[in-house]
C-alpha cells in the first residue's frame, strides 16, 4: 500500500518552496504531538493519584478494623474503590 502511494506521489520540490511547506506541516504535527505528550504525562499522574487513593482507603479501612472490632460490618461486601 505504501509502495503504491510513493509510486503515485509527485516529487516534492524540496530544494525551493518544499522546505517551507514541509516546515509548516511539521510545526503543525509537532504542536499536536507535544500537546498529546503533555496530556499523557498528566494522565499518568492522575492514574498515580488514583492508585494512591485506593491504597490510602484500604489502609484506613484496615486501621479502623483493627482499632474498633465492633465497627466491623461483616455482613456487607466491600466494593473495590476503583
Amino acid at each position: 500500500m505504501s509502495g503504491v502511494v510513493i509510486a503515485v506521489a509527485p516529487a516534492l520540490p524540496l530544494h525551493t518552496a518544499g522546505k517551507y511547506v514541509a516546515a509548516a506541516y511539521i510545526v503543525f504535527l509537532a504542536l499536536v504531538l507535544v500537546y498529546v505528550a503533555i496530556m499523557a504525562t498528566r494522565l499518568a499522574r492522575t492514574e498515580r493519584d488514583l492508585a494512591e487513593l485506593q491504597r490510602d482507603v484500604l489502609e484506613r479501612r484496615g486501621e479502623s478494623d483493627g482499632r474498633d472490632p465492633d465497627a466491623r460490618d461483616s455482613g456487607r461486601e466491600r466494593e473495590p474503590v476503583a
Binding site: 503515485v8 506521489a9 509527485p10 516534492l12 520540490p13 525551493t16 518552496a17 518544499g18 517551507y20 511547506v21 516546515a23 509548516a24 506541516y25 510545526v27 503543525f28 504542536l31 499536536v32 500537546y35 496530556m39 498528566r42 494522565l43 492522575t46 493519584d49 488514583l50 487513593l53 490510602d56 482507603v57 484506613r60 474503590v81
Partner: protein
C-alpha cells in the same frame, strides 16, 4: 466514564481520518496555485488553524457568559479549556504564517499588514488570560473575573475581524469572501475538508482536556469523601480552574 470522555474515541478516530483525507487532498488533488505554486499548500493548514483559533476564542467567551449567567463552575472550566486550546492553535497559526510569509514575501513578518498585526493583537490579548487567572487567589473571584475577560475579549475577536476586512490597504490576499471568493472548486473542497479536520482536532483536544480535568477533580472529590478533608492536600495557586 465522565461526560467528556463519552464519544471521545469515535471523535478522535474521525478526526484522524478527516485530517488524513485533507492532507491527501492537499498534496494529491488540489492543483498548484498559478501565482504562488507549491508554497500555497501552507494555506490548507494555516487558514484553518487561524479560523479555528479565532472561533475558539469566541467559544471561550460564550462559555464565560454562561458561567456569569448560571454561576456553575463547569462553564468556567469549559471556557478556560476553550481559550487554552485556541491559544495553542493561535501559536500554530503564527508560526505557519511566518513560514509562509518568509517563503512568499521574503520576510518573516510584515508589520504594515493589518491581518498579521491584528491577529498578533488578539493573541497578545488572550495571552494575558492565564496571568490574569494566576494573579487572583480566590477561586470564585478568579472564575468571575476570567469570565468577564473572556466575554469582552471574545466579543473583540469578530469586531477586530470586521475592522481588518474593512481596511483598504493590505498585502494579505483575500480568497474567502461571503460571495464565494476566488478559490476554484478543487481548492475549495480541499480547504473545506482541511478546515473540518482542524476544527474536529480542536473539538477532540478540547474534550480530551476536559475529560482529564474532570477525572482529576473526581479523584480529588473521592479522596475528600472517603478520607476526609485532611487527606486532601491544599491546592497550589494555579491559573487553571480547580
Amino acid at each position: 466514564m465522565s461526560l467528556y470522555g463519552r464519544g471521545l474515541r469515535g471523535l478522535a478516530l474521525a478526526t484522524v481520518a478527516t485530517i488524513t483525507v485533507a492532507f491527501t487532498l492537499v498534496f494529491f488533488y488540489a492543483p498548484l496555485d498559478a501565482d504562488q505554486g507549491f508554497i500555497q499548500k501552507i494555506f490548507y493548514v494555516h487558514v484553518p488553524l487561524a479560523i479555528t483559533a479565532l472561533c475558539g476564542f469566541v467559544f471561550g467567551g460564550v462559555m464565560g457568559a454562561m458561567y456569569l449567567r448560571t454561576g456553575d463552575r463547569r462553564w468556567d472550566i469549559r471556557s478556560y479549556v476553550a481559550i487554552h486550546m485556541a491559544l495553542i492553535f493561535g501559536v500554530g497559526t503564527l508560526i505557519t504564517g511566518a513560514i509562509w510569509a518568509k517563503a512568499s514575501w521574503g520576510h518573516w513578518w510584515i508589520w504594515s499588514d493589518p491581518t498579521l498585526t491584528s491577529f498578533l493583537i488578539v493573541m497578545l490579548l488572550f495571552a494575558t488570560y492565564q496571568p490574569l487567572r494566576f494573579s487572583i487567589e480566590d477561586p470564585e473571584r478568579q472564575s468571575r473575573y476570567a469570565s468577564v475577560f473572556a466575554v469582552v475579549a471574545g466579543a473583540f475577536v469578530p469586531l477586530n475581524f470586521i475592522a481588518v476586512r474593512a481596511a483598504q490597504e493590505y498585502v494579505h490576499p483575500r480568497v474567502l469572501t461571503l460571495t464565494g471568493g476566488n478559490l476554484p472548486g478543487s481548492m475549495r473542497l480541499t480547504f473545506v475538508v482541511a478546515l473540518a479536520g482542524i476544527a474536529m482536532l480542536y473539538a477532540t483536544l478540547w474534550k480530551y482536556e476536559m475529560a482529564a480535568k474532570s477525572t482529576r477533580m473526581q479523584v480529588r472529590a473521592l479522596r475528600r469523601a472517603l478520607l476526609g478533608e485532611d487527606a486532601v492536600a491544599p491546592l497550589k495557586r494555579t491559573a487553571a480552574p480547580s
